[in-house]
Subunit: 410 residues, 2 copies
């Protein structure tokens, strides 16, 4: 008998039939004797419908009032699920964010959680009730309704699990777990039994489709075991957990992440003196553009090349900014490329294994794929390649690090 | 400069365009220097949409969860109006029932108001903000969301006006005031400048279309000047007020009310001994049927006839109940008629004027309309007539008591 916090997203509660299916799923756990706190999103489409109403009135509606408006979405689903559970003979009670005093700061539409009062939920669980909580929303010190931003329901679930010291926080999604890489790119991609919080964060490009990154950080910080599971089929999903719990069976590389959202910019031939890099990045950040990878080569002839990547949508603006200031920066030239892709190998096992980079680079070289940039962190190695080689690179690395599913599993 | 509480119903906020029209109307009052607290219903149709979702899950959904569900309707409209006002340069803040601590008992779906905390609203008004409050909803001592029942937004508005000691509570509807009688029946019906709370209550058959009776009782109890006005056109509406404020110009009869919702039942020839009436009514109330008028004639031959009216929908059930017990009650016969109508003259002026009943009965006699039952209260005389004479009776009385609009007004 355990205490589980289970979160169901908008697709899982997108219709009355789906809500009833969630009730049936919840009851299966309840029948096993578990205590359950269910966290729900709004019905899929509902949040957009509400935002559209607001936009008809004001293109930039008041953030405080947006939170009052969109928080109604989850309030609808929690009441409906509580009805469906009770109808089936399993007493349930719904709570809004305000009602469980999910206290946040006052940054409307992207508030951060400060604390949760678990008294009411505990009392309900003690009485055998299923507790149903509205995700995504909270309340500030003044009693104003706040929301946590898109996808914030995952964060609500993790925060509730932390406050209640739940045995597991289960995030139900439309995929059955976290994969070694995107199965649409590599058909031998495997579901991972488990992955560490750090790896999950580094797998952002995959993970962002499965879990909101903030909820993973939150789960790591408060040591909440997090499990990604399918709403629509049974199965163990993927457990996201602390490193030491899985160290025995630790593979070197857990997964291959990638994205096509970046573009590369190079300032050629700038003076190799202190302050140049900060001037260049100052230009970019001054325009509120975000930089991902940054590389500066060793100087030759007292000048150097400075290369970084930005989001592909920001490429044009960043290039124009640099070109306008190139002379001032003493640069010879500004070059750019928005047909690149980033491929990363991720794994806490790298820490204790030498030669991982060598294996990676050899696998790419064997396929004659040129690496344009390289960046490393403790548990990740990323390379930038021409985007036309993306799939080839991901498949080669997936095989090289032994991630391919066995034929018999197919 | 005054403090007004203004309530707009579901039709008045039924679309984005309508909400923007309400914003414009509110701003006209604000421009005159008034302080404003706006109370809103849900968009017309929305409450039914939500109830329908619940009914798909459970024909008799949990009352607590129904309140969580349907209270989202007003939460949507208050946020949208606050946006529309702010967009127009008039700062506004929305509050749910829970946020202004509109405290109620715990009788979900038909809760009664206990108190309101006006601190936040006062602070906003002091800062020049328009306050926008969700009607129809409150919160109990435990923090559970409650609702006041259909039409409860009127009651919310009156309660807020009482708590804030507002100068006037203005109820915006789709009619431009309270009429001497239904204009669809009498084309010379006039809008009343004012009417007393008691008269308004007695005019229930008209008033119920304009105002929720409970809100009128509440306004009378707390002496809140209440004004019924049109959402769609300008005009003074009808002020509902205390008797002494209008005594100088008091007409004898303020209005003619009527309804076709009743049916008549008579038990013929029951023993004229104590306890018979209570046995008969006990049968009816035991089946949860409500009785309106009750008449017992003087006994002849130690038996009497006992007549009462019930709602027309309950006629069949009530008649069957009586017939089954007729022998036991010692009755000769049970007769009934569900083609009757009740016509009432209402006016506080009756108290100080003799001969009102005589005038009424003569007016009906002049039209050869037979009165089947008569019932009087301090400020009302009601008669039951064959329903085919209803319109004729109402017109005759409207003329007899000098209520007809002058030709020049037409």
């Amino acid at each position: 008998m355990a205490l589980y916090v289970q979160k169901f997203g908008g697709t899982s509660v997108g219709s009355i039939e789906r809500i009833e299916a969630v009730a049936d799923k919840v009851i299966r756990y309840k029948e096993q004797g578990h205590d359950l706190v269910i966290v729900l999103s709004a019905m899929s489409g509902e949040t957009n419908r509400l935002i559209d109403l607001a936009k008809q009135i004001d293109e930039n509606p008041l953030a405080r009032e947006m939170d009052v408006l969109v928080s109604t979405g989850e309030q609808v689903t929690i009441s409906l699920l509580a009805m469906a559970l009770t109808k089936r003979g399993y007493p349930a009670r719904s709570y809004t964010g305000a009602q469980v005093k999910l206290l946040t700061d006052s940054v409307h539409t992207k508030a951060r959680i400060r604390s949760i009062d678990d008294a009411k939920m505990r009392a309900d669980l003690d009485k055998g009730r299923v507790v149903v909580v509205a995700g995504f929303q909270g309340v500030d010190e003044e009693g104003n309704i706040t929301t946590l931003g898109r996808g914030g329901s995952d964060t609500s679930a993790v925060a509730l699990a932390a406050a209640l010291k739940a045995d597991e926080c289960q995030i139900y999604t439309d995929v059955d777990g976290v994969y070694t890489t995107d199965p649409r790119v590599v058909d031998k991609a495997r579901r991972l039994e488990s992955i560490t919080f750090e790896e999950m964060l580094e797998m952002a490009s995959l993970g962002s489709k499965v879990l909101q990154i903030r909820s993973v950080e939150f789960a790591g910080k408060y040591n909440v075991p997090l499990r990604v599971m399918s709403s629509f089929e049974d199965g163990p999903g993927t457990l996201i957990t602390l490193e030491d719990e899985k160290v025995m069976e630790q593979p070197v590389v857990s997964g291959i992440a990638f994205n096509r959202d970046e573009a590369k910019l190079t300032i050629v031939g700038v003076a190799d003196v202190p302050g140049v890099a900060s001037k260049i990045l100052g230009l970019i950040s001054g325009a509120n553009l975000e930089v991902d990878m940054i590389i500066q080569n060793i100087a030759e002839d007292k000048t150097t090349d400075f290369t970084f990547t930005v989001h592909r949508n920001d490429f044009k603006q960043a290039k124009e900014l640099l070109e306008a200031s190139a002379l001032e920066l003493g640069a010879r030239e500004v070059t750019g490329d928005n047909t690149i892709a980033k491929v990363s190998i991720v794994g806490v096992g790298m820490r204790s294994h030498a030669g991982v980079a060598a294996t990676m680079f050899k696998a790419l070289a064997d396929e004659s794929i040129n690496m344009q940039m390289i960046s490393t962190s403790e548990i990740k190695i990323s390379v930038v390649v021409d985007e036309k080689y993306l799939e080839l690179a991901v498949r080669a690395l997936h095989t090289a690090f032994g991630l391919d599913a066995e034929e018999t599993e197919k």
